[in-house]
């Protein structure tokens, strides 16, 4: 019994320890006292290098920190829960003055941390709430990846034309398949821009879309791609992050337009091109802003010009002839504003062209669309906030399932 009592006392002591520590050490700051120390920048990631999504952030972050001469501190495998707030707090304790997070579900906890530490800048990729939250030190960022998707779509359309001319279409008209994750605006915007890119060079193309209900599920993505191939798709693309769709295409000999980076090594005979977001320009922009006391944009949208939207290597062995020249031409058109991805002249909804549409840009949990996003003849994607909000179901795209 005596031993048990001692054990009990020990537990209590353990619980009291931080309380006492907090009473005694009130407000003393022991870490980061030397002023000439390097600036510290933190990154919170959902998974680690084994996820292509997180790897894309981690690589860019390391690169940018090295280039800017600041110290990088990375907290990996942080779930989308209270742990994210704890991790942000720990980064602040360690002396970070600028903190990034990479996953959509981290947002609420980053906001919580931003409210508690007003002197630290918090930047959250893919989030939607910065413009309504009204905090000076909380920011969202995304990239106009729909432009990258559009370009990738152009490459896909060229390939379909080539297949069509060779008389090798599976059906009467060209058909693409797309493996999506969720019916989320980011995914809808992605597949629609991809489709419109293909349609701009191959007008009679249609597309089937299936959803896996996960951002990373290799088996489901592979099955999804196989289902689309069996359904008569002449070409596949995907949003989800695993190698599922590219390997399914390689096995079936169906050309694939990839995402998040080249998959040529795994699919040398079917990989055409891939689009990805390069986060380095954003990291460098934010580090520079903090170093020089400049304000960071509440919503920052990277573009092709900032170097945030990239196309990875074009596989000349698979792509149709003249693809590179066409891509350069369209890229220039996007840059000078002569081409708009969501030009209302190029798509219809239920058979009619749109001249007005309200989107749910202010994400207040009310599902209330409140912002007019069509003007000057095109849908203004990623302008009223950085995260995509294009969620229209346009004609020519057929959703096979919408359970997710």
């Amino acid at each position: 019994m005596k031993k048990k009592l001692i054990a009990l006392m020990l537990c209590l002591a353990m619980v009291m320890m931080p309380l006492l520590a907090s009473c005694g050490g009130g407000g003393s700051d022991d870490g980061g006292s030397s002023e000439e120390a390097k600036m510290k920048v933190g990154l919170i990631t959902l998974h680690d290098e084994n996820s292509t999504y997180d790897l894309n952030f981690i690589n860019a972050f390391q690169e940018s920190c090295d280039k800017m001469g600041v110290e990088a501190v990375i907290k990996k495998n942080i779930p989308e829960g209270q742990e994210c707030y704890d991790a942000a707090g720990e980064l602040v304790d360690e002396g970070c003055t600028l903190i990034f997070a990479d996953s959509f579900g981290h947002e609420a906890y980053m906001i919580q941390a931003a409210k508690e530490f007003p002197d630290v800048q918090f930047c959250h990729a893919t989030g939607t709430k910065a413009h309504t939250e009204g905090l000076d030190n909380y920011h969202n960022a995304f990239a106009a990846i729909y432009e990258g998707r559009y370009l990738a779509g152009v490459a896909a359309g060229m390939k379909l034309n080539e297949i069509k001319e060779a008389g090798n279409l599976k059906g009467a008209t060209p058909k693409m398949g797309y493996v999506g994750a969720f019916t989320y605006a980011e995914v809808v915007s992605g597949y629609t821009s991809f489709y419109l890119g293909a349609k701009s060079v191959c007008p009679d193309v249609t597309m089937d879309v299936t959803f896996t209900g996960s951002w990373y599920d290799e088996t489901a993505e592979k099955e999804g791609a196989n289902k689309l191939i069996q359904g008569g798709a002449d070409l596949i693309s995907q949003h989800a992050d695993s190698m599922g769709a590219p390997t399914a295409c390689e096995e079936a000999g169906i050309p694939d337009v990839s995402y998040n980076g080249s998959t040529k090594s795994a699919a040398p005979n079917t990989y055409i091109i891939s689009s990805r977001i390069n986060w380095s320009p954003y990291y460098e922009y934010c580090i520079d802003a903090v170093q020089n006391g400049k304000a960071i944009d509440t919503d920052w949208t990277g573009t092709i010009e900032t170097g945030s939207v990239e196309l990875t290597e074009l596989n000349e062995d698979v792509a149709a002839e003249g693809t590179q020249a066409k891509l350069d031409e369209v890229k220039a058109g996007l840059a000078d504003g002569s081409i708009h991805v969501f030009d209302t002249a190029n798509f219809t909804v239920d058979g009619a062209a749109l001249d007005s549409y309200k989107a749910d840009v202010d994400d207040m949990g009310d599902y209330e669309p409140e912002t007019e996003v069509i003007s000057d003849g095109y849908f203004h994607e990623s302008e009223y906030r950085s995260a995509p909000y294009f969620d229209l179901q346009i004609d020519g795209i057929n959703l096979l399932d919408t359970a997710f």
Binding site: N50, V73, K76, T128, Y184, G213
Partner: protein
């Protein structure tokens, strides 16, 4: 010819008695050996100084006030699940459904918070969600317990499958209540009104779960050690026939014990949603239902001992995270070290329960190991 009995080289016998001192010496010795093995592997594979790796693990758990609080919160939640599982395991009812019982509590709490927002004051939502979470956790434990008591179904498989049912139900309601639409996440529940959120005690966000865990742990210690019900369930665990013979209603004890287990798991789910995370995900339970089994076993179902075994687990997990940050190592490296230490700690139980004798040579007594 010498006609001696042929004796094997190694010969294992069960120990009858072992002094507490010796028992702890074996345990501590095994941890020391584990640390040496970890050090060798660290040096060989990463060329880092193992001492600085260990220092960084300690820093990751105890390095700042915030880290200590995070450690205590993790420990509290894990401890509650472990404490909840202890009576079932002591009764030899293999309840692998702690995770599912927590998820049932999570789902019940979330439902109350979402459906009752703006319908009643926050205090009332807290109360209703608490009752709902307790009921849901208890129900999730009651179903396999009832089937076990009534039809002698296999509780291991049953409770295990109930985990998947609970997780899939949570997944279904996440899609139903998702925000923003299509994202597959429900985000923070009631972010503006904070309806149903537990109050922050004494300005310390994690104090409440810590206090609840202390109360539950002490309660379970007393329940198992001094109550009639605690005695009954240990008799059922020793032998169901003996229990029946002395007039214990075995089915009743099984159901009663599992309901208690489910109540505590439901309470844990309630603390997770209303107290700390304020959201619901399919991974919010984070494998604690299984980890809790290990914590409970290591401590021989003594709730006070579970504080130590739970602390070891949480320390290893937080320390593992810290070394991946400090040295740029993959999280898997922390898992490898955790695995090695657990291997030795669990292995030490063998040497506590059994004695190894080597074949006597030259008439000398072999030393016990």
């Amino acid at each position: 010819m010498d006609k001696t009995k042929k004796e094997p080289l190694i010969h294992i016998t069960k120990r009858k008695m072992i002094s507490k001192k010796r028992e702890w010496a074996i345990r501590l010795g095994s941890i020391l050996i584990a640390l040496v093995v970890c050090a060798i592997i660290t040096t060989l594979t990463t060329h880092l100084n193992p001492i600085s790796v260990y220092a960084s693990m300690i820093d990751g758990s105890f390095g700042s006030e915030r880290k200590i609080w995070a450690l205590l919160k993790e420990l509290s939640i894990l401890l509650m699940v472990s404490v909840a599982l202890a009576p079932a395991f002591k009764m030899k009812f293999w309840n692998l459904g702690g995770g599912g019982q927590v998820m049932a509590g999570v789902l019940a709490t979330t439902s109350c918070m979402i459906l009752l927002e703006n319908k009643m004051p926050s205090g009332a939502i807290i109360l209703v969600s608490l009752i709902a979470a307790l009921a849901a956790g208890a129900l999730w434990a009651f179903i396999p317990a009832f089937c076990k008591a009534k039809w002698n179904t296999n509780e291991t498989l049953f409770t295990l499958m109930m985990n998947y049912v609970a997780t899939q139900l949570v997944a279904y309601f996440i899609i139903k209540w998702e925000s923003p639409r299509g994202s597959g996440k429900i985000g923070i529940i009631n972010p503006n009104t904070e309806a149903g959120w537990l109050p922050v005690v004494a300005g310390k966000q994690y104090l409440l779960p810590v206090l609840v865990a202390i109360v539950i742990t002490i309660f379970m210690y007393i329940y198992l050690k001094y109550s009639k019900q605690g005695y009954e369930l240990s008799v059922v665990g020793e032998s169901q026939n003996t229990a029946r013979y002395v007039g214990i209603n075995v089915g009743k004890v099984i159901i009663r014990t599992l309901i208690l287990c489910g109540l505590i798991c439901g309470l844990t789910g309630w603390l997770l949603v209303a107290g700390t995370d304020h959201t619901m995900t399919t991974t919010i339970e984070a494998g604690r239902g299984f980890l809790g089994v290990m914590v409970a076993w290591l401590a021989h179902f003594n709730p006070i001992g579970m504080v130590l075994s739970g602390l070891l687990m949480v320390f290893m997990s937080r320390g593992g995270g810290e070394i991946s940050t400090a040295f740029g190592l993959n999280k898997s490296f922390g898992d490898i070290l955790t695995g090695i230490i657990l291997f030795f700690v669990i292995g030490s139980e063998f040497f506590i329960n059994y004695q190894i004798h080597f074949r006597k040579s030259h008439g000398k007594e072999a030393a016990d190991v």
